[in-house]
């Protein structure tokens, strides 16, 4: 067969293989998530043990017969965990059913005290929700299929004994001599949020997780700082771009026929993007080389940034779900009305723009953490909203970020920061000194603003002191004065610098500039 020259590209060649066809087709990833969120409650989900790890606590000290799964012990549902989950459901605009039930998920693992996990199966607390977030300037909505409550297992530490002169070391399970179990975490309330396979890009996943965490934090049901507070399983398959409809929808059969992998052991937003980017490239390369993607579970290795095979579909577990008779069904039909949730980030962002005249970027920065937004609002009520925005969104957050600190680290010092802004607003300290000296010293040395100003002698120079310095600078620098009168623009700046030097930086450069011009022009 002859092919007219210049007519090869884009035409199916009867001799081509599937691989060649696949090579041409653009592939897009289809991603769905199961996000496990630790809910912040005082006590565990089915017993009275504390959920709050003590400093340097010993293993297996925050336990009781119930969370240890001792023979005869029974679970009793912690109402606070159900309330927290209902709040999440409301924030996700999910349906809350009349009645919700618990099931047992049966599997053997040493971190699971009863060798079954109490979870929810056919009657989850939340169904059919959604979460809207921004990704690269566009609004995206991902559907949440369900969100349910369950208990967290304990944690394992795999130990390898080193040579005699070395301590035992924590290692991976396949290199371990033995493993130790700590049940302190067992029974911490978890909420599993299951999304539809609506993501088309690993970066979207990251944006979604950031938004989800933002919302959870606003609801006061989540502590991002707690170890293991967010764990993610993600499934990913590659399909041809042509199969994605204009509305982003993909035919059910196309989805079913694409082999997907489930990636486990993801514990951060960044890790999720990394794991899924790796997995997308891996699958894409396989398909381009004409190889099949195996349907399997893979483990994300955070250190290496890759995923490795855990088990294939043939080994998939049968969890033998059945109803947990020890926990009566909960009637929750009126809980959605009864339980209030605070203003959520999106709404607050809009309100900030309207009420304080902030631009989109500042409003976004100021609302991403509830503590920041609360602080901003408190400051903006007292002082100029623009000044407050600049100070909170740029200066304070910037300095905190530089020091790897979060606003939570200074929440008990918010009064001091308010005082600093007050000193700036009343011109008792210059903006420059406030930013470069006072704030930094406050953060580094834990002093109050007044203490820093006192110690560093940074109080705004008195007007007569500045006037004297201005007169001195004019007297001492006749050349510069001459240059000024000759219309040389740089001369005034030189003179301002001289005055600033004389006043130890405590004068306002704008004021100095004006005073100089007044004297020189007068």
């Amino acid at each position: 067969m002859t092919v007219p020259s210049g007519f090869t590209s884009g035409v199916a060649n009867p001799g081509s293989t599937m691989a060649r066809a696949a090579e041409r087709a653009e592939l897009v990833p289809v991603i769905g998530l199961e996000v496990h969120v630790q809910l912040e409650t005082d006590t565990k989900i089915f017993c009275g043990c504390s959920t709050e790890p003590a400093d340097d606590e010993e293993p297996n000290t925050r336990v009781c017969p119930t969370c240890l799964g001792l023979p005869g012990a029974l679970p009793v549902c912690n109402e606070a965990a159900v309330e927290a989950a209902v709040k999440v459901g409301k924030a996700l605009d999910a349906d809350i059913p009349e009645e919700t039930r618990f099931h047992r998920k049966n599997y053997y693992y040493p971190d699971l005290p009863k060798n079954f996990q109490i979870t929810q199966y056919d009657a989850p607390l939340c169904a059919d929700g959604e979460l809207e977030f921004s990704h690269e300037g566009t609004r995206r909505t991902v559907n949440v299929r369900r969100a349910h409550l369950e208990e967290d297992p304990g944690s394992l530490r795999h130990v390898r004994e080193g040579p005699a002169d070395l301590d035992v070391r924590t290692t991976s399970v396949d290199r371990a001599d033995y493993s130790l179990i700590d049940y302190n975490r067992a029974g911490t309330p978890l909420m599993e949020v299951v999304t539809e396979p609506d993501f088309r890009d690993p970066r979207e996943v990251r944006a979604f997780l950031e938004k989800l965490e933002e919302v959870l934090e606003y609801l006061g049901v989540f502590d991002a700082g707690r170890d293991g507070s967010l764990r993610i399983d993600a499934n990913l398959s590659m399909i041809e771009a042509g199969e994605v409809g204009d509305d982003g929808a993909i035919d059910e059969d196309v989805l079913e026929s694409a082999n997907r992998t489930e990636v486990k052991n993801i514990s951060s937003h960044k890790g999720a993007e990394q794991a899924l980017s790796y997995e997308r490239n891996r699958q894409e390369n396989l398909i381009k080389r004409g190889k099949a993607v195996e349907q399997e579970t893979r483990h994300f290795n955070e250190t290496h940034g890759n995923t490795v095979s855990m088990r294939s579909k043939e080994e998939e577990k049968d969890y033998r779900y059945f109803g947990e008779a020890d926990l009566p069904a909960l009637q929750v039909s009126d809980w959605k009305e009864r339980i209030a949730i605070p203003e959520l980030p999106d709404a607050r962002r809009e309100r900030f723009r309207g009420a304080y005249g902030l631009d989109a970027e500042a409003a976004s920065k100021l609302t991403s953490r509830k503590a920041v937004a609360d602080f901003y609002e408190q400051v903006a009520e007292e002082f100029d909203p623009d000044l407050a925005a600049a100070w909170v969104a740029d200066t304070l957050l910037g300095e905190l970020n530089y020091r790897d600190m979060a606003v939570e680290d200074v929440t008990d010092r918010l009064d001091e920061f308010t005082r600093l802004i007050e000193l700036v607003a009343t011109e008792e300290v210059t903006t420059k000194n406030a930013e470069e000296v006072v704030l930094r010293t406050m953060l580094d040395e834990g002093l109050t603003p007044d203490e820093v100003i006192e110690r560093e002698g940074l109080g705004t120079a008195a007007a007569d002191e500045v006037a004297a310095a201005v007169a001195e600078a004019i007297d001492e620098n006749p050349d510069a004065v001459e240059d000024y009168h000759a219309g040389e623009g740089g001369a005034i700046n030189f003179l301002v610098g001289q005055v600033m030097q004389k006043t130890g930086g405590s004068a306002d450069p704008g004021d100095v500039n004006a005073m100089l011009r007044e004297r020189l022009d007068g």
Partner: protein, 474 residues
Amino acid sequence: MSADDAPTHRGGDAADDLNAFITRETVVSDADGPLAGKTVAVKDNISTEGIRTTCGSAMLEEYVPPYDATVVERLRGAGATLVGKTNMDEFGMGGTTETSAFGPTSNPVDRERVPGGSSGGSAAAVAAGEADLALGSDTGGSVRNPAAFCGVVGIKPTYGLVSRYGLVAYANSLEQIGPFGRSVEDAAALLDVIAGPDERDATTRYDAAEGGAPDAAGVPDDTHPAEATAYAAAADGDVEGMTVGVPTELIEGADDEVVAVFEDALADLDAQGVETVEVSLPSVEHAVQAYYVIAMSEASSNLARFDGVRYGVSGSEATGGTEGERGSSSEIDGGDGNWNESFARAREEGFGDEVKRRILLGTYALSAGYHDKYYKKAQDARAWVKRDFDEAFAEADVLATPTMPVLPPKRGESLDDPLSLYLMDANTVPVNLANLPAISVPAGEREGLPVGMQFVGPAFGEAAVIRAGSAVEE
């Protein structure tokens, strides 16, 4: 508790040739309550702080609970003296107390015969006078069966009347702790002490309107019937005007000797002013199958925790590890992350044959592809049995049946044939499926062997069955 200095006896001791106790230990309470001066034996699947609780299994031969079951706390609060932990079929799985890892218990009426089970040790101890009272647990008849075979009184309370906190679960949707006594009044007095809501057991609640709404913590939103009823006072024998329903299906399967005693007792009740009516429970022909599917399914999950990691047999002998090397029970062999081998070793060593049989069958019944065929179908049958009982209680105040369809068998007679053993439960398991209260009282004797009569009441109708039982006693 004086766990350390108290002597511990095992079967074969001269003082206990019945082998009714697995652990003999006396714990005297200082409390001045309704059970002051009474001795009480406790089935060995009810947790006792500082006293080992074996469930009749080698798996838990050394297991000492760090806490008391709610019922044990209540016994102590009522001034009772605990005299020991009684023998039982392993994890409650059996009707003869022969599957115990600590050897069988003899029936004090005829030592060649079984005492029934699974609470055989408790019934035998009370029948032989080794304790005034005893606690058992009843999953499918395990209180009523040995009560009938040993000639004492046993009560299976409504599901949710008595806290299960501390009762080592066999089939948690079916079972209740229940009392034994030599008289109906004695057993009822013990029920008065143990019944009532418990914040540690979310199923101890009472819904005045069926399907009513307990709040999230399972806290009772209505007065629990136990708090408004004096059970011992109901043992007044005053049955004048009471209607007793006799379910034909549960008479047909019983042996002739048993039916003869049962009918004599009915005639006696008739003379006391009881009206007897025939009722029908067509669904009960499926009850035994449904019961075993549900009980075994739940057991496969409830007994999963016995893996040698935290307590119990660790299966370490097989790998040659010494106690010292594996001293801490939460230190386990990591291997390559495949823990199943270590778990399997512990379970192979620790469990007896009947327990293994039920775990295997239960696991199968819950498995993907079989779940609908077995477990779901059994749940449907359970709902049907409940409906049949509801209809029967529209016609009668209580129902009466022979407790056991047979006289107590000889030891070793039935062990080889699990199916015939399971069928022995025909009259008791429907009651557990329907969550109802029932009592077994001695109704007479045949060939020198006791025959028990069972009364079943509507949910939380303990007073009615106690009243009916006390009338038979007189």
